[in-house]
Structures are given as structure tokens and as C-alpha cells.
């Protein structure tokens, strides 16, 4: 069955084109090419992977709570940290954002009826699901899952040091999910470039969508390198090539070059979508336009570009990289990130702030990510990196950055768009409880890890002796991990409650700014019954509050007679918004 997608004029009666006699039940899920169904599938699948990887983290922290612990064996511990990292990075943080929320929200935000390539979109999801299950399936093999860390350094990952089917399944899984990500990246770019609503020029596209476009380009730069590196690793393991082995004339450090050329853009593939979510949430709950719209776009593009030239700062201690070059480049990334922070604060400045759950998580993200980002600046300095490389200092740093973005900003985005996606509200009380437990648990978990790192505790060790004096800090960190577990459990209860006892959401519960709130919750097939005219980067706000439009506000400024109410509602940040 094919459908003509029509873009509505000013008003179109509900009912729309011919819908509603497609397949039902599981066949509907298997055959759907609707970006909303695929987006939800992505979201739910990635959250299941997140919970699975979270349980692994709790197991690892339990193991480390006391010295000489034998709760899990060393081999199992290796599998746990490998699969925890792999699931979180490859199967949760990325797909949750660019597979789940972006898939659902980007067509809505630009006023498109669907993604540009709906069947390719469905194929991405099936590749992702197949790849993810393959990775977890490694646990069912005789030798267990992959156990060489999520970075799979050569020569640890070769056939001699890591034999068995588990590592091969890990490699296959990354090939599959890599293609899934590439297809999604192509799809998002094509959707934004070709299916925007009339009047929505590139510089009126919401920042979330802008960030997704840059993320899409980064995916196209980074993931093919990963896939190629994986295929070569497989050849080394099975066909007897010597690409990463010294004995046959290969270069093991080539693996690190290839992997991190993927890996560092990947960090920003994971961060930029979440920056976008925060940039959507802060203006809505401050009731102001985003401060410095063009600055935000510029910062996003700069971060994306610079991220392709800093890969070797993960390899300072190999001794074969250009230290000054990569150190300087890494420092430079702090500049556009600083612009973003400045603009986020500028957006909230003198706004009428409303601390609902999404806003709480977004502000929590600002605090948490700032700390992770600042310790990242430390690590860009080679002398400090030499001292802390592969210690818990680095573990704490990247958990602050990634947990800050993927979980704090991710939950902010999830609770912000949950009404749109499921047509029902989350409970505020449970959401806030979840936030405070998470915020406290986060610091209790990761601050001790910085100290442990400075005391010299290496990463990826399953046991330590009591004489090292690391026991107390490890205990505190483990307690924090349990608090985090509780916070996530409250979030899951929140979903359950909203599923069993729904409070129905209107089309626009937060008084939103962008086009996704201009339709019903959840949106009908092909998304819109009517589109408001697009005259600024927040078309729906202009439509709902004609007296406070971005343009009217500018005219007031030029005329020099701002009305008090208008200034309050749209705020002083509108100067930078155009």
C-alpha cells in the first residue's frame, strides 16, 4: 500500500488521506515505515539496552565495593565492562538520540510528512535490532562475550588473545549497527535538506534539528572508518592477514588511529543531539527565544568539524602521535562549547523559569556536563594525561560527560517529548524524585572516582588489595551507583504509571515554540492537519502569541517603545536570536 503525502494548506479537516486499514498487531510493527513507529521502536529498544547495561554497571560496582572481591570472576568482569561500554555507547546513547528522538522529532520540527526515505529508515531499525541482539548474544556462546574493552585494541583483540565466537559476534554487531547509523544519517540530512515546510529556511530550523544534521554528517565521516576497521580486524582474525600485527609487518597502532578517528567524532555524535535537546527545552521553560541562534549553529558546526581532528588525544601515551597538534585542537573544542554554555545561560537569563521535570534535567545537565567538560580540558594537556591515562580519573571524566548528556539531557528530552509521542503526561512528582536521586547519586558515584584516579587506581581491574587504601572511596562510589539505580527505577515506575493510568496530554502541553507541538499528540499519519506560517525560528509561538512574536519584538526594539509585558515574555535575548 502506498500513500500520497500531501502537505496541507491552511486548514485541513481531520481524517486526512486514506488511512487506517493497514495490518494490525505484530505485523503492523514489522511492516511500518512511519517514522513515528520506527522512532518509538528505537526508543524502547535503546532503553531496554540501557537498563541491561545499567545492571552490568551495578554488578561491577558491587564487585569493587570491597577489596579482593570474588563476586564475579576476572573473566566475567572483563566481559561486563566490555559489554557495559559497548551497549551504552553503540546501542543506547547514539540510537536513543539519532534513532529514537531525532527520527520522531526531526520530520515534525521541519514540518515534513515523514522521513525522506521511509523504507531505508525501517531497514536501519532492523539492522540496529539485529546488531544489538547479536552483540548480547555473545553471552550465550561457549567462550562468553567479547572481553577486550569497548575499544578492542590490537593485539588484544586478535585470534590468539581473544579466541571464540563472542568477539566475532561483537565485530559483526558493530558492522550492522554501523550501517544502521549511516542510513539514519543520510535519511536525516535528506529530510532536513528537502522536506522543510514553506518559509522554513535553514536559519529557522530548530537547533535540535540543526544539531541532528551536523550529527548526520559526522556519522557519515566516522562510521565508515569503524566498519572498515572492523572488517580488517575480522580478516586478521580469520583470513591470516597481518594488518594489526607486528609479526607480519602490520602496525598495531593503526587500529588505534582508525578506531579513534571514529571514536572521537562518535563522542560528539553522542553529545550534539543532547545539546540540541537542551537547547529546545531551555527556551520553552524560560519563555524566551533561544539566545544567540546563529551563534549556536556556528558552535555546533565548529564542534563537529574540530571533532574530526582531535582523535589522537586518546593516544598520547602511545608516543607516536603529534602531541602539540592534537593538544591544541582539543583545547580549541572548549571554545565553541563555551559559546554554547554562554548562550544556554543567556537563554535562561531574566526568563520566567518553570522548573518542570524536563527543565530540571536540562539544568542538571548543564552542571554535570560543565564538570565533565572541564576535566576534559585537563586531559587535553599531555603531561596531565600521562599521569592519569587509564586511571579512574579518565573513567570519571567520560562518565560525567556521557552520563551528563545521554542520561540527564536524554531524560530531559524524553520527558519533554513523552506527551507528544505517547499522548499522555508523565507524573511530575515521580519525575522530580527521579531527578534528585539521580543528581545526588551521580556526584556520589563519580566524584570519588576522580580521587581514586589521582591515587592511581587503574581502569578495568576486577580486584585490588586492601593495602592500597582505595576501599573507602570505592564503597562511596558503589553506594552512589545504587542511588543511580534507584533513580532509573523511579523513571521506569513513572513510565509504568503513565501506561496504566494515563493522564491525556493536549497537543501543546508546554506552550512549545516549534512545529512538533502544532499537531495532535500523538501526531496523525503524515503528521499535520495544518501548518502555521513560518516567520521565525519559533513559528508556533508566533502563531499562538501574535502580540509577542519575535518580529514584533524586534520592531519594538527599533522603535524604542517596548511594552513591559512583551519584554518580559520574549526577554532581552531576542537581540541575539536573529
Amino acid at each position: 500500500m502506498t500513500l500520497l503525502a500531501e502537505r496541507p494548506g491552511v486548514v485541513q479537516e481531520p481524517g486526512g488521506p486514506d488511512h487506517g486499514h493497514g495490518p494490525t498487531g505484530i505485523l503492523r510493527w514489522l511492516t511500518s515505515t512511519d517514522h513515528k513507529v520506527i522512532g518509538k521502536s528505537y526508543l524502547i529498544t535503546s532503553i531496554v539496552f540501557f537498563l541491561f547495561a545499567g545492571v552490568m554497571a551495578v554488578l561491577m560496582r558491587t564487585q569493587l565495593a570491597s577489596p579482593d572481591s570474588t563476586i564475579v570472576s576476572q573473566h566475567t568482569y572483563n566481559e561486563l565492562f566490555t559489554m557495559h561500554g559497548s551497549l551504552m555507547l553503540y546501542l543506547f546513547a547514539g540510537p536513543f538520540a539519532f534513532g529514537g528522538l531525532a527520527n520522531y522529532m526531526v520530520p515534525l520540527q521541519v514540518g515534513a510528512p515523514d522521513m525522506a526515505f521511509p523504507r531505508l529508515n525501517a531497514l536501519s531499525y532492523w539492522l540496529y535490532l539485529g546488531g544489538g541482539l547479536t552483540m548480547i548474544g555473545g553471552f550465550l556462546t561457549v567462550g562468553g562475550a567479547a572481553d577486550f574493552g569497548w575499544v578492542a585494541y590490537a593485539p588484544l583483540s586478535n585470534a590468539v588473545n581473544s579466541p571464540g565466537a563472542g568477539p566475532d559476534m561483537w565485530i559483526v554487531s558493530l558492522i550492522l549497527t554501523g550501517f544502521s547509523a549511516i542510513f539514519t544519517g543520510v535519511n536525516i540530512c535528506a529530510t532536513v535538506f528537502y522536506l522543510r515546510a514553506p518559509g522554513m529556511t535553514m536559519f529557522r530550523v530548530p537547533i535540535f534539528t540543526w544539531n541532528m544534521v551536523v550529527t548526520g554528517i559526522l556519522i557519515l565521516i566516522a562510521f565508515p572508518v569503524l566498519t572498515a576497521a572492523m572488517v580488517m580486524l575480522w580478516c586478521d582474525r580469520h583470513l591470516g592477514t597481518h594488518i594489526y600485527t607486528v609479526s607480519g609487518g602490520g602496525v598495531p597502532v593503526l587500529w588505534q588511529n582508525l578506531f579513534w578517528f571514529f571514536g572521537h567524532p562518535e563522542v560528539y555524535i553522542l553529545a550534539l543531539p543532547y545539546f540540541g535537546m537542551v537547547t529546545e527545552i531551555l527556551p520553552v521553560f524560560s519563555r524566551k527565544p533561544v539566545f544567540g541562534y546563529r551563534g549556536m549553529v556556528f558552535a555546533t558546526i565548529t564542534i563537529g568539524a574540530l571533532s574530526t581532528s582531535v582523535w589522537a588525544h586518546h593516544m598520547f601515551t602511545t608516543g607516536v602521535v603529534l602531541l602539540p597538534f592534537f593538544s591544541l585542537m582539543s583545547y580549541m573544542i572548549a571554545v565553541p562549547t563555551g559559546i554554547k554554555f554562554f548562550n544556554w545561560i543567556g537563554t535562561m537569563w531574566r526568563g520566567s523559569l518553570k522548573f518542570d521535570t524536563p527543565m530540571l534535567f536540562a539544568v542538571g545537565f548543564l552542571v554535570v556536563f560543565l564538570f565533565g567538560g572541564v576535566t576534559g580540558v585537563f586531559l587535553a594537556s599531555p603531561p596531565i594525561d600521562f599521569a592519569t591515562h587509564d586511571t579512574y580519573f579518565v573513567v570519571a571524566h567520560f562518565h560525567e560527560v556521557l552520563f551528563g548528556s545521554a542520561v540527564f539531557a536524554g531524560f530531559a528530552g524524553l520527558s519533554y517529548w513523552y506527551p507528544k509521542m505517547f499522548g499522555r503526561m508523565l507524573r511530575e512528582s515521580l519525575g522530580k524524585a527521579s531527578f534528585w536521586f539521580m543528581f545526588v547519586g551521580f556526584w556520589v558515584t563519580f566524584l570519588p572516582q576522580y580521587l581514586l584516579g589521582l591515587h592511581g587506581m587503574p581502569r578495568r581491574i576486577a580486584e585490588y588489595s586492601a593495602s592500597t587504601g582505595w576501599t573507602t572511596l570505592n564503597r562511596v562510589s558503589t553506594a552512589g551507583a545504587y542511588i543511580l539505580f534507584l533513580a532509573v527505577a523511579i523513571m521506569v515506575v513513572n513510565f509504568y504509571v503513565s501506561w496504566r493510568r494515563p493522564i491525556h496530554a493536549s497537543g501543546n502541553p508546554w506552550d512549545g515554540h516549534t512545529l512538533e507541538w502544532a499537531t495532535t499528540s500523538p501526531p496523525p499519519p503524515h503528521n499535520f492537519f495544518r501548518l502555521p506560517p513560518v516567520r521565525s525560528e519559533r513559528p508556533l509561538w508566533d502563531f499562538n502569541h501574535p502580540e509577542h512574536t519575535t518580529r514584533a519584538h524586534e520592531a519594538e526594539h527599533e522603535g524604542g517603545t517596548p511594552s513591559r509585558r512583551g519584554t518580559r515574555a520574549t526577554g532581552g535575548g531576542a537581540d541575539g536570536a536573529r
Binding site: 503525502a5 518559509g199 503524515h526
Partner: protein
């Protein structure tokens, strides 16, 4: 179309500038063997932006102006048929599972690839027949 093409050309320009810089800094004999990989990858970034970026640039000078690039466009100006979208299709699922089976042959031996390629052929035929009846990719 102009801004889209500029975005991709900026990526390309960045790859070129940084690639040359990286190559020049790495001329020191200590680093020579190691930097070659990075220079190639940065060169690839340059090409990745250049190809679609220049195509968009070329096309933007030839196409009729689009309502989404016009800041004053009204919703009516874009009304009408946007494109033909497949409502439902089983073939992405079949194609995904065939790719999974083909890739699993890298682990479990070539027998899964037999099923995988058979499914892939079925899926390709299915998608083409479906597209003949009308539908985007």
C-alpha cells in the same frame, strides 16, 4: 539550497586545511609513518564534503526557487503532493534479516549466508515491484 551546499563545503574546506596542516606538521621523520593514515582520513573528509556540497551548489543555480528557501513563503505556497511514500512494507524487515544472516556467516560459517542471500534476493525483488507501483526509497 545555497546554505545546505555551503554547510557541506565548509566541512570539505576544514578537512582540506586541517589535512594539509597535519601533513605538514608530521613531516618530521619521527612521525612520518604514523601520520600517513591521518592525512588520508582527513583527505577523505574533504572529499566527503566536496562531492555532495558541490553537487548542491551546481544544482542550486539551476533549480527553480523553493518555497522552503523563501523567508516570506506562506503555507499555501507549499501545499499539494510532496511525494509518494510507502504506507507499509515488509521488505525492509526481510532485507534487514537477510543482512543479519549474511553477516552472521562471518561467525558461524557460510551456511547462514545461503539463507541470507536467498532472503536478500526476495527482498530486492519485492522492493522493486513495490516501487513500480509507486513509492520512495
Amino acid at each position: 539550497m545555497r546554505n545546505e551546499s555551503r554547510l557541506l563545503l565548509v566541512v570539505s574546506l576544514f578537512g582540506a586545511v586541517i589535512g594539509v596542516l597535519f601533513w605538514a606538521v608530521g613531516l618530521s621523520p619521527v612521525y612520518a609513518t604514523i601520520t600517513s593514515g591521518g592525512t588520508i582520513m582527513l583527505g577523505a573528509v574533504c572529499l566527503l564534503g566536496l562531492l555532495p556540497g558541490y553537487y548542491y551548489h551546481w544544482w542550486s543555480r539551476r533549480m527553480s526557487p523553493r518555497s522552503e528557501d523563501d523567508p516570506e513563503a506562506t503555507p499555501e505556497s507549499g501545499a499539494g503532493v510532496v511525494g509518494v511514500f510507502p504506507g507499509t512494507s515488509i521488505w525492509p524487515f526481510v532485507l534487514g534479516m537477510s543482512a543479519l544472516l549474511v553477516c552472521l556467516s562471518l561467525v558461524f560459517g557460510f551456511w547462514t549466508a545461503i539463507f541470507g542471500f536467498s532472503l536478500a534476493i526476495a527482498a530486492v525483488v519485492g522492493v522493486i515491484l513495490e516501487s513500480r507501483r509507486g513509492g520512495a526509497i
